[in-house]
């Protein structure tokens, strides 16, 4: 009888331990999913590289975008390219120097939230400052199916000088000659 009780106790402990481990694994997985979702939702989560020195007034970059389908990801990538020029700056490459952000002040986005909400709205003014240079839908390694959608990389020409002038004219960025 005693042996039987002891065996039962062991079984219960084993079940409890297994349950505990499974719950923590599920929680950890959910946490990872949440983090991943959060990082995908964050606008700062994109990769951009300068490909070469663009023709006068433009920047030639490769930028990545993530969305549920390829078309939306391409659109997001274009938006990311304009976002990088305004807030993040473009990294340098072997033959092109780094490009500083048009608005290097970290508070610019917060201080002009309404302006940028309108600027980056679907079909908003941002579209006028980007040219897609990849013909057709990205394929091969530039089109990756990931959990929750697609991640695509496209080559984009950003009309950097025009974008800068627009932000200067709207009073968001400071003109070099202002004050003189």
């Amino acid at each position: 009888m005693d042996i039987l009780n002891r065996n039962n106790m062991k079984r219960v402990s084993l079940i409890a331990l297994t349950l505990l481990l499974s719950i923590s694994a599920v929680t950890l997985n959910a946490q990872n999913n949440r983090d991943r979702k959060k990082s995908f939702q964050s606008w700062d989560n994109y990769e951009i590289t300068t490909e070469k020195v663009g023709v006068d007034g433009t920047k030639f970059v490769k930028v990545w975008g993530f969305a549920k389908n390829v078309d939306a990801a391409v659109m997001q990538a274009k938006k990311n390219a304009v976002h990088a020029c305004i807030f993040r700056g473009l990294p340098g490459s072997e033959t092109a120097m780094a490009t500083p952000a048009i608005c290097p002040n970290p508070n610019t986005l917060e201080a002009n939230n309404d302006y940028f909400q309108n600027f980056f709205a679907a079909g908003g003014p941002w579209l006028a400052y980007v040219n897609m240079t990849t013909d057709g839908v990205p394929s091969g390694t530039d089109r990756r199916q990931v959990k929750g959608g697609y991640k695509v990389g496209i080559y984009v020409q950003v009309m950097y000088d025009n974008l800068k002038r627009k932000l200067e004219a709207d009073g968001i960025a400071r003109k070099l000659s202002s004050g003189f």
Binding site: V53, D56, T95, A96, M97, P100, L176, S177, G179, F180
Partner: protein
């Protein structure tokens, strides 16, 4: 009625603010000394028996078309930013013409234009910000690659505002294309550094240097003591106290101080000051020291004082003579 009055007052305030524009620094692209030396654009100068070589900018600009390409490309983007740069080539030509005209100029009664040797020396091409440019062409097999170095230097403080180095892509394209690629590569970084420099200028004032010199016929020197508020102070101390009171947040450094010479550097001056008509105007180094000059002319100092500007950001004050 009240509303329209408020709007009118606001518009007036805006227009008054609009008049107060800081003095715009001049910018000039100058080939670096090492570039001139490497390419033989130098001339031998004999100064008091000691021979030395100096850069011959005039020859460099005339004989090297690549420099012209670079200057044109830089001039273009600066003009687009409402900041046209001064042309070194044109400035050198203007000085030559000015020399010739001054030599020929006589008044109706036969008088000639006065010019001291110092005035003649100072009549040279200069700018407030110097863009020191250097580049070298490298051969990569049949292709060419250009490495460049552009430094923007504050002419008065000798501080580096922006430093840009890099290489173009290696290609068999014409030199003009490679040079333009270089300019486009550093353009935005350079403009950003310049903007940072101007932001600092507006926030903390213009950085200037002030040098006080004593002529040998001056009856006193900077160690002479004067009574201020019942206490005896050296003239140098009194001048330092004036600097502390009139600079932005009292920022200045006394670089050198002796009986005959005082030099202040890293002097931060406000961009605007009130003129004799009580109006806010943009000031430079010379306008900044005018009140000091007036103070030294008055009792108890009663000195003969002169001031001579050496550009927007450097001024010499002489005591004992003008």
């Amino acid at each position: 009625m009240k509303k329209s009055l408020v709007i009118a007052a606001l518009l007036l305030a805006c227009s008054i603010t609009g008049w107060s524009q800081a003095k715009k620094p001049t910018i000039m692209v100058v080939p670096s000394d090492s570039f001139c030396e490497r390419n033989g654009y130098v001339q031998q100068v004999n100064a008091m028996g000691a021979s030395s070589t100096v850069a011959d900018y005039s020859r460099a600009m005339k004989e090297n078309s690549d420099i012209r390409t670079l200057v044109s490309a830089m001039g273009d983007f600066m003009a687009k930013n409402d900041f046209p740069i001064q042309s070194l080539e044109q400035e050198l030509k203007r000085l030559q013409t000015e020399d010739a005209e001054l030599a020929m100029m006589t008044g109706k009664s036969g008088g000639e234009i006065n010019e001291t040797p110092l005035e003649r020396l100072r009549r040279s091409a200069k700018a407030d910000i110097i863009l020191d440019l250097d580049y070298e062409v490298h051969r990569v097999g049949p292709r060419k690659q250009v490495s460049f170095n552009l430094q923007a230097i504050d002419a008065y403080s000798s501080k580096l505002i922006s430093g840009n180095t890099g290489v173009s892509s290696d290609a068999s394209a014409p030199m003009t294309t490679l040079l333009e690629e270089c300019v486009l590569s550093f353009k935005d970084n350079f403009l950003s550094d310049l903007q940072h420099y101007f932001d600092d200028l507006f926030a903390n004032g213009r950085e200037i240097s002030v040098t006080l010199l004593c002529y040998d016929n001056c009856p006193i020197d900077f160690e002479e003591e004067f009574e201020v508020n019942g206490e005896s102070y050296e003239l140098a101390e009194i001048i330092e106290a004036w600097m502390a009171d009139n600079t932005v947040e009292g920022r200045f450094s006394t670089q050198a101080k002796s009986a005959n010479r005082i030099r202040f550097n890293q002097v931060r001056i406000p961009l605007y000051a009130r003129n004799m008509n009580g109006r806010d105007v943009a000031i430079d180094a010379e306008a900044f020291v005018r009140p000091l000059v007036r103070m030294l002319k008055k009792k108890p100092y009663s000195l003969v004082v002169g001031s001579s500007p050496r550009g927007l950001g450097d001024v010499w004050i002489t005591i004992g003579d003008k």
